[in-house]
């Protein structure tokens, strides 16, 4: 039961701190917004992931349980 990284796209303003702290799992698109690896966070990167979550100035990055299914978005 590992955690997955998720971005709240409404809160995210593209600071880019997360991509600097966790380049293995997060990169930035051409507009500066994060592209996050959707898989579970490897145990070796768990600490870095938590640091990145804490460092986000907009509180937009979250670590959520993997066993919770990704919600299906109704229109």
């Amino acid at each position: 039961m590992r955690d997955t990284l998720r971005v709240n796209p409404i809160a995210c303003t593209g600071h880019g701190v997360c991509a600097e702290l966790l380049p293995e799992l997060i990169s930035l698109d051409e507009w500066g917004f994060p592209l996050v690896d959707p898989g579970p966070v490897p145990p070796a990167l768990d600490l870095e992931a938590r640091r990145a979550v804490a460092a986000c100035p907009a509180l937009a990055l979250k670590l959520t349980r993997t066993d919770a299914p990704r919600p299906v978005r109704p229109r």
């Binding site: 971005v7 709240n8 796209p9 409404i10 809160a11 995210c12 303003t13 593209g14 698109d29 051409e30 507009w31 500066g32 917004f33 592209l35 919600p71 299906v72 978005r73 109704p74 229109r75």
Partner: protein, 428 residues
Amino acid sequence: MVNDVADQTAALNQPTGLPRLLPLVPGVPEDLRTHLARYGRPPLGDPGRLINAVEQAGLTGRGGAAFPVYRKLAIVARARGRKVIVANGAESEPASGKDGLLLRAAPNLVLDGLQLAAEAIGAGEAYLYLHPGVSPEILRALSQRAAAGLDRVSVTITEAPPRFLAGQESALVNRLGGGPAVPTFTPPRVTEAGLRGAPTLVQNVETLAHVALIARYGPRWFRALGTADEPGTMLTTVHTEHGAQIIEAEIGVPLRTLISQDTDVQAVLIGGFHGAWLPAAALGTLALSNSALNSHQAALGAGVIAALPADRCGLAEAARVVRYLAAESAGQCGPCLNGLPRMAAALAELAGRGHRKQTRADLERWAGLVTGRGACNHPDGTVRFVRSTLTVFAAEIGLHARGHCSATDRTPFLPLPDRMPLTEDDWT
């Protein structure tokens, strides 16, 4: 045992065939008296039975997502405390007119369904969410019902701004709570925590009308029409060169039965502006059902079917649609805010005479960048439309690249509003 008896009683009065939702005689105004004469009073008083009946009937949402209705009902019914129900009549899809017609022609069916579902989930607050310009038929229905003591939960009408996203579930709840009609981040889903934190059930008005009939006539009656996997009937808005028509159709009928034979069609848009194009050849083979359409990367959506005449330019139509979709972005999420306008410009370039080679590659890249990266599925739906445009009109793109166009009629075909939202007021 009790259910069987109720079913048998209902069987005595069961209507057969079509129409189920729309009036028997089109154009004849329905009031409470004629409604009760046709259907009888709504069978309130047995909340547990309704959810079972809806489950056995296999009713799916008619607002576009086709989510199993009983599941949403059950989730909210199970929750504790204050609960809210909303009848979503904000028909935000410009090409759809079925909800508007249903609310004018058969408002009591919708309002019956609202009361029945409210009782089933234990909701103490009920809302009817509509675009501005509430029809007199709805107001009349509500006052007649109040006089007759039919509504156990009083219904509040709330106006939605004329925005494409206004009918989205979380945007709707945001608006009901006094905010703008823009989506919010989920989780939590509105069924867990919606209006002022209360579990909220949002159902399309057509869905509620079906609920009102299932409650009276039972699941077996509902399944008498439609397919085993997709039972029942649905309202469709069919656009042809002769105009737009609302047709209540049995699910599973061939698409050809909805579009008259004499129209010369080059492609059909199914599912509205978040839907997909089908090539004209598919018309002959495909049925009005998700299982048939899914094989062509399409879905029923809210029942919009637009048959593009052969003399129009599909690329010009698509470019207009994507520009509209871009303008209707809530502008909250970076990828959507940045990607959709650029995609609109790229498609406009493809629809022009000659385009840069880079444009096509840019469009593909942006489509990939916005998918799944918004708080709602506005970017995803837009990408679905764009990708199907690129597939179905590939030949036309090639033609335009060489400076030509196959169209002889420049009149716009798909209905689109003119005015762009510019201020916060436009969203409230």
